[in-house]
Assembly symmetry: D4
Homo-oligomer: 247 residues x 8
């Protein structure tokens, strides 16, 4: 039953207010049994439904991907193994895989527009690149231009200075760092743009699986910094995209 | 020595490259002995120098405030007690105090411009208001229009729905909540604007002084949310201001 | 020695008070060497003995199951792998396995009665289903009617509203959620029935293996909520069953 | 505008669906500026609005109490100091104070009905009594008959046994304990009624302010137990009341 | 150089005081390169050198065992896998293995004396048996008579009462429990002998790998209880042996 | 009703088995309303009832002390302030106070016997003395001879060596240390007697209120050591007394 | 008995080896009852005995100071309040007090020599100065030349660069920082001298009382950095002094 | 463009100051795509670039090693598996592997000079040797003479005394210990040289993966001790080398 029909039924009295309300809200929800694809989510939150693969079997991922493919919805799957990618490719042949980012991506239209302003993705060390790349792939999936500035950790701070102009000209900046998580503070003190800090689980011992970097970033002495979950390149890119696409 | 003079000295060879560089960077730094006022900070980071009062004596706060006042710099002091306010008022007579927000504010020019777009400040409960008000006062100090939407905690979610339109129309949203910290997830699922979540230390026992709300917000199932330190209304407002004032 | 005999012996003086007492209490305890089956437990606590499989070898599980089978006791084994199920099936042929719930179940009588009132089992996301299903299978094993309401996480809160009536009509509600664990607070604010919250270990990084969801639920701003251990669908169902079967 | 009027306006078209919806939800919300009294809450959740006094000034508590008094709403304020009580008594003369429970209570009608079944409130040690009493006062405020069984900690377990019948005959049991938090496990193994465990902050050192008792209770080897926040006698009583008043 | 020779050299002046001192202390130390066997340890501390196998290769364990065997030292290796046992058996043919306890034991003299008083080893659940057995095997290796009282967890407390006399008559009691770790408190309240509590890592979720049981035991409301590290059956047995063998 | 009478009633049938049992267990329990004095505790556990003063008002302590005094029970109150002592002295004139130990002590008979063997109480630093003295006073209250060996922390280990003989000759050793908690390991490696380690909250920062010393002691590389709660000199003395008084 | 006499006694046989040894070690230990002054400590460890005032009464501090004064020992007391200073001044008239550093200092000889090389003490923010000053005062007490470089936090990194030469030329560098603790990493990447990092408790919320800065410093991506306890300016200065005075 | 050319261009005006600055800083940075080799790092920080292998594929390690080899840079790779070593050996034939230390080392010149003073590396137990060996290999790679003093844990403290002279004569001391981490305190109280403490993850249960040893070392009662991350033998050796090579 479409929205118009629904509303007519209500005015005519064949549907109660309560029922009408819930029916309206149900629009865009399609039931797969184990997971619903929320096709109205993009309109509501600015971020389309995305497949987070951990905890799903490769069959479940393939099934969801196939459904999205057939419904004309673009596909982004995160934290995906190569094996999952192989499975998805059987039903979505043109799908691509970024091994470092662990992302599976498919767009129905190849000539998508990109924002004019870009999101800078700044990463401290080599080991932080999987998270940085997840952010980069997600940001691009959401239609943003992206600039990568990698390997500029604070222990060799001249490397950061040599790239600072490219960071300053971004509209929003994602800073990815593990270990002591100091990079966002340094970047935050040098730019006048919003900085989204992503702690990574890179390190060992007292890094506590990324908790140390997370805590450090939350206590940054530079204002204008906010933080997402450990290794959450995806979430940082979502917020950065919302900011970058503000009119 | 001014910048021009400095650069001439360098070209003439009376200053080394290294010395020149540091001299340039030193511009805008004024030394008070115990604290420097970084008057170039606003240009560099978009956020002017602000007085964080805890750990400073009331005499130190007054001295800093007086210096800023005489230098033509607008004043914001956070986490201030009424006693500190009394002290500052002796040297900056027109200064104002928001008791709930614990902020001291002074502007040299009363007819300041405000942004057209506004920052929505959403708070869960009555006890979260000091943090929400700190965010509101800071955002206004930084030139932003602000809308307050208070007492819309998730345990009576209809209260949130009755205000959702005002939240959706903001350019950026600050959500303040203590206890289980669930409000940002619910708001984040209903809007397509960036959400900055501020955990508060409101609660007791297993709230762990705000750590619980902080952790909950970092694990939000809604994308597009980032988080600042516990009770950090100031920091949330700084980032929101940078976002709200993006061209 | 049966209870009557025991008591006679005592009155006659051939057993001391102390000995009599302990003998009485010992009734229903059968010693397998490595584990006792407490067949009087159901009478005492309302919950029969159940096999928690982790930390037991598959041979041990099979041996316990066989003994229960032969003693006419119904069987529920939780957190069971398919391999353990195969082993048990060799000695209890009619036993069934719910792969998602990881439960092995056998009833001696197929035409068991079910409660008229039902337990609603509400789950936030796809990854929470194993825990939700453990709760559902346990509740049914204990003789309760169960209604499943799945995939109604707070980031798309309209999905919850569309199912709220079915939740409100339950006698008791189990709410299963990982990540930020916000769902019990929202449900608790919408119903006038007891809510048992089950945090899951779903998530990563600062979810701390489920501790974040656990803490959030303990700090819920909605009254009428209590919490069980992380991933403890079984325990939630036990308490829900005691509540649902209150006269 | 009443509900009828609202609905008529909607059918006539002078209100949009969206507006109608929110208006309906707004019913029962009264705005005090700093805190709303949610007078529809009892109907919605079975628990009326209650005043949690920490973080509120004594003036705020008095103002809320006065409003509730004048609106014919019964009053329960928790964690109240004697000073707050004095303030409230100025505007609600008949109000009573339980010093140990730290509760302020007022009922408009003195001949209230009480449930036939009772809630047993079991406490381990003398120091746990403030929390136990908060639970008892709350349960009685909500219309329940209450039985107190105090000072039955596990280090002298015969004391528990001498009271066990009174515990077993309750419809629902609240168990309050600090230190190692073992009492709920022992009680849970002896009864066939739902047990709600309340950890207290009683103890020192490695009790971690009650976290130890909380964790112990969450890991109880007895099924049928659920747990609320540290020192949360109020919350335990709310859930117990919902259970006790199930038809 | 023997002790007598050493002391003579010193009096004659060919060794300095300092050198003499250290030489004396060095007695009984034999250097294997990667690990020294401290054959004087038993005289000094009452506990002989024991092989803790984790972190050692099976070759290292075999080499140490062989050296001890040839030096006439009795062998106890803890946390040993069956594979390590196989390796040791190649060089110490009569060695025995307790699979549940994960201990490898060899005595040069089969007719060893045992203490008249016994150590009671009390365990809560089936999953705690590996730790209980490690304690039992260690205690017996150290020459103590041992009584095992297993499967007497607090959720079915009558099981404990039926065995309490055997516990009370021990000279010292080791209580092994995981999950909420409540058993030592209950036992401690019923006996007038020292109780050594051993928390185990048995459980899941909020058991925090045994930290919960550890904390609970440290906060026991029963006096006369002390605690060892998580899963440390060996250490508990060492202390119990020292106590049991006090004259 | 005395025990004999009770048993006769039972044999005659005027008391049920259950009632008889509970009556028997109730012996020795006297009800004060807010706290029961368990006068049979000493017989049952070897440790008499003791007053732990924190969380009790000075009136409550006085009332309990008076009751014990009149019942001929010796009095030990721990963690007592001088003010509480003053209060108790009003009703028990001969009571004494150890200011450093914060203990209030009264014995009905001045010529009590003392054990021949002694408990050594070893303390690392000056700041650990309150806990060491609590242990010493408790041990003496329980009838033990005590030797104090203070200020022998590991940073000047020669101080320990100069006192080692007096430690070695004790029957049981209590070692009290804060900060890094290393002293029990060193002592444990030098003696063949049971060592009870007491971590103190002495230190700052990463000492975490004594958690660091507690954890260190639990991980001691010396066997034969067990641990009690932070600052729990009382508990250590209870266990030491049970050990010291073993026949 | 002096050392010579002691050794003669030993050779003559009137002292056993053991006794001689302990007597030798006892040299330099003077017993005050509550605290020993270890006057041989400086020879042994390079750091003289120092008075850590917290946990000592002002009378105890005065008594220790007086004894040191009369024995010709220089005095340093740390974490001292002004009140303690007043007390000490009564017995050591020339003593001085640094209010920010909270140190009490007295030297018997005013013309002490200072090292030629200096220790740089680098501090991030105004609130870190008490800890930095404690380090500075301690280092100077130990005979070191000190250079202070304050207010060079990473959020305005040009301030650090303008002072970097003075840091590079030090022989050893102490870096004091709170909040995110990032400064040591940045400094460590710019110098080739050992860096000792001191986390401070400056900050709030997720700074966890300095644990965040501590963890961050331990995870520094710059090599050559080691860390001391939170707020431990004293300890950092001790190690820096040992390094600075290496020949 | 070389440095001279760069500076000439700047004086001539063809390069701006800013550009010149960054170009200068860029010297020595060579871009490999996934990781930059910072060949100027040794000059800047005293520590050359080193390959930390975890998180890098064996291909990446080989590629970096090959580049360093061809550029005439000496190679140290840490935490390397034997498999990685095999891969590197294909391109750097003379490379060596220390299996216990998990280090891969290659020097272009075999006749390197070594410092005259040595670094003592002191280890508590056999299981700590991998970390101690990582420190030893790193220190030697950096040109230092090294003395190993192993298996001198505090539970048999005479073993330490027999080696103390060799420790005292070092210029700087690295102390490696797991479990309770007590060894640095004991060593620190016996020497007048800087001590760098390395906690290891050796132990189980409440050792918390090395956090316990880390905390204990940070709280050492011996002054002059600083601490590095858990298992960070490399970092300790870097700081020790900087100290040992101070002129």
């Amino acid at each position: 039953m479409g929205i118009n029909e629904l509303l007519e039924n209500y005015k005519e009295g064949s549907l109660s207010l309560q029922e009408t309300l819930f029916q309206l809200k149900e629009q865009g929800i399609e039931d797969l049994g184990f997971a619903r694809i929320d096709s109205a989510r993009q309109a509501r939150t600015g971020i389309p439904e995305v497949i987070y693969t951990p905890g799903k079997t490769k069959e479940q991922v393939r099934q969801i991907a196939e459904r999205m493919y057939k419904s004309g919805i673009d596909i982004l799957a995160t934290r995906a193994s190569e094996e999952v990618f192989m499975h998805v490719r059987e039903v979505v042949p043109e799908v691509t895989f970024n091994k470092m980012a662990r992302t599976i991506v498919f767009h129905h239209h190849s000539n998508r527009e990109e924002t004019k302003d870009y999101i800078a993705i700044v990463a401290a060390g080599t080991s932080d690149l999987p998270v940085a790349e997840e952010a980069a792939e997600t940001a691009r999936f959401l239609g943003n231009k992206v600039e990568r500035i990698y390997d500029v950790g604070v222990a060799g701070i001249h490397r950061l200075f040599s790239k600072i102009e490219g960071i300053r000209e971004a509209r929003v900046i994602i800073v990815v760092a593990g270990m002591e998580g100091a990079l966002p503070s340094v970047v935050g003190g040098l730019v006048n743009k919003p900085v989204i800090a992503v702690p990574t689980s890179v390190g060992y011992g007292a890094n506590l699986g990324g908790i140390t970097a997370l805590l450090a970033m939350l206590n940054s002495c530079a204002a204008g910094i906010s933080v997402v979950n450990i290794d959450n390149g995806f979430g940082a890119a979502c917020q950065a995209s919302l900011i970058n696409q503000l009119k």
